[in-house]
């Protein structure tokens, strides 16, 4: 199936719609200026890509929603969507509204727009909206959704500014990626793409603006905030993106880089690009659009995608603004200049990287490019390990203290369940096998402990001296990133939030990813919750390990689907009804560890030999206002009780 992009919407410092944004880019304007919304006198710099607004008393919640609404409305109109009930939403946000459930913005937006499809939030720091775009394509390929609006939104708040400032990442002048003065400039905004199959767009009588060819995600497994200086994570993401698009390095005409402007990011990104594309990288124009509107955090992936696509439509490529002298070992052609360069781009790559060591690469094609999408065969999936961890210090049995020194409860709980799962599956930590393991985590909020630590540092020391270490823990994918570092996972990583059950949503997306792609054979799906907001639940993490293509395994995951109340009549939903019900997400549990569904699933697996039944449906449908998530597992044969595996990882 060809996936096309039929609508674009953007709202950022450089423009309140795509046309304004593009006109500004054509005129060489820069959207970075002095920040007025909060006091920057205590900091060494005071600039950002801020969206002008008179109403300084507007709450963060309203402001974020208004950005998202403006961009989303534009995209939907651009795609000539008349009936929003057919539209699903995949929204990426790095911070959401700090302290609240990360998915709140998505449900607020969906309510305003009366979206009738599925709603999924992805929060992987600065790659959030590029993840969102990739997952939107997956939903379309699966046939679960007809039309998806995918993108992201984030605010430039005082706390985020202070956090980046404390880490020494901010430039005193508008960022100049790959150029002499290092440092980044933060920005804010929202950007969305409307995506659908080519067939759907034709039925609706709408033209494609660009093709979405494929994507790749990878983890560095190096450090919680700094990128792997060798760029191997970025390299893997690019290679996987090319693989899933059916393209070779030589097919790429242009790269829109993450290019934040920091010395660490830019150099590792360039090394990663060189590693993935070898000689071809020296011939490629590579520019970073952050020089125009700053680093828009969760919106960056989508906003930079829109910049790339719009440039392609105009037969140009956007330059890197503010470029003076090159740094040693930086792209050969950074498209230095102030005006877009005339250029014919057939296929473009857009890369992003984020805290936690996550990397993404998206591939876009010119709208009239004739290409045959790769046919994908679905691989079978088996469950080869599982665990439930309720003990924060469980992980201390396996990992030396120093490696856990600056983590928090959520990270430790998740790491504990991952250790449990790997031991259950007989896989050694940091082994070659771990290299390719992916990790999708369902998680709704930040660790209460780290939020409190940040607030305490601000009230005790002042905003300039806020706790840098607490700040680095305040991204939803922080626990996932810690696990990648501890265990050596370099496969696809994501943090997902969706009602009614984030862990089940992670399982849906993860199973789909694993079955239809072949960049990895193993994926851990987990959920973690520190339950500080909870009433009588205690904190915990739960998860399982899926292996693709293992025909011998007795426990298979054979079905995964999403449903809305309006979908009762669809084929997939009927299929579900045929099956005898298995465990449902109810019943007494010590802790749901953030996902009653995953707990019910592993409970089912634990008892699977004690019943004659061979097929089990695990359904999450707490509230008919949200989507239903159905997972089917099947027992292929009765097997002897799991042998007591010699623990290789003590």
């Amino acid at each position: 199936m060809k996936v096309v992009i039929t609508g674009l919407g953007a709202y950022c410092a450089l423009g309140s719609c795509v046309k304004e944004l593009w006109d500004a880019i054509e005129e060489g304007k820069c959207g970075i200026g002095p920040i007025k919304r909060f006091d920057t006198a205590l900091f060494d710099t005071g600039i950002g890509g801020v969206i002008p607004g008179d109403d300084n008393s507007e709450s963060d919640e309203k402001r974020l929603l208004s950005y998202a609404l403006k961009a989303a409305n534009e995209a939907l109109n651009n795609a000539h969507i008349s009936d929003n009930s057919i539209v699903s939403l995949v929204l990426g946000t790095s911070n959401g509204i700090m302290g609240r459930d990360i998915n709140e913005i998505s449900y607020n937006l969906a309510d305003e727009l009366n979206l009738g499809g599925f709603i999924i939030t992805v929060s992987t720091a600065c790659t959030s909206s590029s993840h969102a775009i990739g997952f939107a394509a997956d939903l379309l390929h699966r046939g679960s959704a007809r039309v998806v609006i995918a993108g992201g939104a984030d605010l430039l708040t005082r706390d985020v500014f202070a956090g980046f400032h404390s880490l020494g990442l901010l430039s005193k002048t508008p960022c100049s990626p790959f150029s002499s003065s290092p440092g980044t400039t933060l920005g804010e905004g929202a950007a969305f793409l409307v995506m659908e199959s080519e067939e759907t767009s034709r039925h609706r009588g709408v033209h494609a603006q660009a093709l979405f060819m494929g994507y790749g995600i990878s983890a560095d497994a190096f450090h919680d905030t700094r990128p792997d200086p060798g760029g191997s994570g970025i390299s893997r993401a690019i290679i996987n993106a090319l693989g899933s698009s059916g393209l070779k390095p030589g097919d790429i005409d242009y790269i829109n880089a993450h290019g934040t402007g920091t010395a660490a990011n830019d150099s590792s990104e360039w090394r990663g690009i060189q590693s993935a594309l070898s000689d071809h990288s020296n011939k490629l124009p590579i520019s970073s659009s952050k020089s125009y509107y700053g680093h828009t955090q969760g919106a960056a992936g989508a906003l930079e995608a829109i910049t790339t696509i719009t440039a392609m439509q105009h037969n140009v490529i956007p330059p890197t603004l503010n470029y003076t002298r090159p740094r040693p070992f930086s792209p050969v052609d950074p498209v230095a200049g102030t005006r877009p360069r005339p250029y014919n781009t057939r296929f473009a790559l857009s890369t992003n990287s984020g805290f936690g060591g996550v990397n993404t690469a998206l591939v876009f094609g010119r709208k009239d490019e004739a290409y045959k999408p790769l046919s994908t065969t679905q691989r079978s999936l088996s469950v080869v390990g599982y665990g439930l961890n309720l003990e924060e210090d469980y992980i201390n049995r396996f990992i030396p203290y120093d490696d856990l020194r600056s983590t928090d409860m959520s990270a430790k709980l998740l790491a504990g369940v991952v250790a449990m799962i790997l031991n259950d599956a007989g896989i050694e930590f940091r082994s070659d096998e771990c290299d390719k393991i992916g990790l999708f985590v369902g998680q709704d909020h930040l660790s209460d402990e780290s939020l409190k630590a940040l607030d305490k540092s601000i009230s005790e020391r002042g905003i300039r001296h806020l706790s840098a270490s607490a700040f680095t823990r305040l991204v939803i994918n922080y626990p996932a990133g810690v696990c990648c570092r501890l265990f050596g996972f370099k496969g696809p990583v994501a943090a997902i939030s969706a009602k009614p059950d984030s862990g089940m949503a992670a399982l849906y997306l993860g199973a789909d990813n694993l079955a239809r792609r072949n960049d990895t054979d193993l994926m851990i799906i987990a959920s973690v919750d520190d339950h500080k907001h909870g009433k009588d639940k205690s904190a915990g993490a739960v998860g399982l390990l899926l292996r693709a293509g293992d025909e011998r395994s007795p426990i298979r995951l054979t079905g995964w689907s999403l449903s809305r109340k309006s979908d009762k009549g669809t084929e997939e939903a009927l299929k579900m009804d045929d099956l005898k019900p298995g465990n449902t997400a109810s019943g007494p549990l010590i802790s749901s560890a953030g996902s009653p569904g995953l707990c019910a699933l592993i409970d089912t697996i634990k008892n699977i030999n004690h019943t004659d039944q061979n097929s089990f449906l695990i359904r999450s449908e707490k509230d008919l206002n949200y989507m239903g998530i159905d997972i089917i597992i099947e027992k292929k044969y009765q097997y002897a009780n799991r042998p007591e595996r010699k623990n290789r990882n003590t």
């Binding site: 200086p229 060798g230 150099s267 740094r327 120093d402 490696d403 940091r430």
Partner: protein, 344 residues
């Protein structure tokens, strides 16, 4: 290799200002393979060996009295382990490992120094030379990391306080590599360094040297090397002696000093008429234009920043290590280059 003093000095200056090449004949390397390679290392090393792929950790191997007999890096390259460094010539390390391996773990050891040689590059621009001569992937190596190359293995470490790389290649290729490095090094003002130049550099940066301060039966706290041991480990050769030490305490330690005139090893150091310790190592620092060394000084005189001591009736002052401000601290490979160094 015996050099004349001016030649050795040239090597030292290159270590401090550009890049120097040394054919390190006393550096050794063991490769440990097998399912339980890291289990074995965990058993014999006092440090935490839970390493990331490509990571190195600087540690010591201790005898039963907690005196170090090996100054080594334990390294991880995928599923292989390396022990790279220096150990006493009287020690058969493979034998010692076998004796201390615990419950016969599944591993095998290869002595790579039989087949390979080690060429070391040290200097504030060593990274740039390596990138040119070996490949740009070198630039992505963090400090204390290793990487397999098509042509050999490279370890980023060094004991001079400057950027340091150990390139391990098959012996047959040594001369070709030396030629390659010297040729590429012309534009970097590369000089050949000898043991003496490296020795002076390591002394100025307070690095441990087995042939120097390792000759006095001193323990890690006395050597200020407690950081080479993990506080969370309690079962390794020498751990019991370390435990006793922690309980009893220790009353002398190595302290960095400077003095304007030369002195000899074992010369007594005095405060007024009281002997407080002795010189263990000393060497002239061209950067400081005075002598730098390590003294074994007893409590409570064992602090840095005391200007009141005498050796051979000459003034001696204790200072915080390192004794010099390494140029490498101010060189950032993402921004700087040897060729624009005047502007830096």
């Amino acid at each position: 290799m015996l050099m004349t003093e001016p030649e050795s000095h040239k090597g030292y200056l290159a270590i401090r200002n550009s890049v120097a090449l040394e054919d390190e004949t006393d550096m050794r390397c063991l490769l440990i393979r097998g399912r339980e390679a890291f289990k074995l290392l965990d058993h014999i090393c006092p440090c935490n060996v839970f390493l990331q792929n490509g990571e190195m950790k600087h540690t010591l191997l201790l005898d039963d009295n907690a005196v170090p007999f090996a100054d080594v890096y334990v390294c991880r390259n995928r599923e292989d382990a390396y022990l790279l460094g220096y150990w006493l010539k009287s020690v058969d390390l493979i034998d010692w490992i076998k004796q201390n391996q615990g419950s016969s773990p599944d591993y095998s050891v290869i002595d790579l120094t039989k087949s390979d040689c080690i060429l070391t590059l040290n200097g504030p621009y060593a990274w740039e030379l390596c990138a040119k001569a070996i490949g740009p992937e070198i630039l992505g190596m963090p400090y204390l990391s290793m990487m397999s190359l098509n042509s050999g293995t490279i370890f980023r470490a060094g004991v001079t306080g400057e950027y340091g790389y150990h390139l391990m290649v098959p012996k047959e290729q040594k001369n070709d590599w030396i030629e390659n490095l010297i040729n590429t090094g012309i534009s970097f003002d590369l000089a050949i360094a000898d043991r003496r130049a490296r020795d002076q550099s390591s002394l100025e940066n307070f690095f441990f040297d087995l042939d120097r301060e390792g000759q006095y039966q001193l323990t890690p706290p006395e050597l200020q090397l407690q950081w080479r041991l993990s506080r969370q480990k309690s079962e390794y050769p020498g751990s019991r002696a370390m435990q006793n030490l922690r309980e009893k305490g220790w009353d002398r330690r190595l302290t960095c000093f400077v003095t304007k005139n030369s002195a000899s090893v074992n010369d007594e150091i005095f405060f007024e008429n009281e002997s407080v310790g002795q010189v263990l190592s000393i060497g002239y620092s061209p950067v400081r234009k005075e002598f730098v060394g390590k003294a074994l000084i007893r409590r409570p005189f064992w602090h840095a920043g005391l200007k009141c001591f005498m050796v051979n009736d000459q003034e001696l002052e204790t200072i915080s290590a390192p004794a010099i401000d390494n140029r490498s601290i101010h060189v950032n490979p993402n921004i700087h280059s040897y060729f624009t160094r005047k502007e830096n």
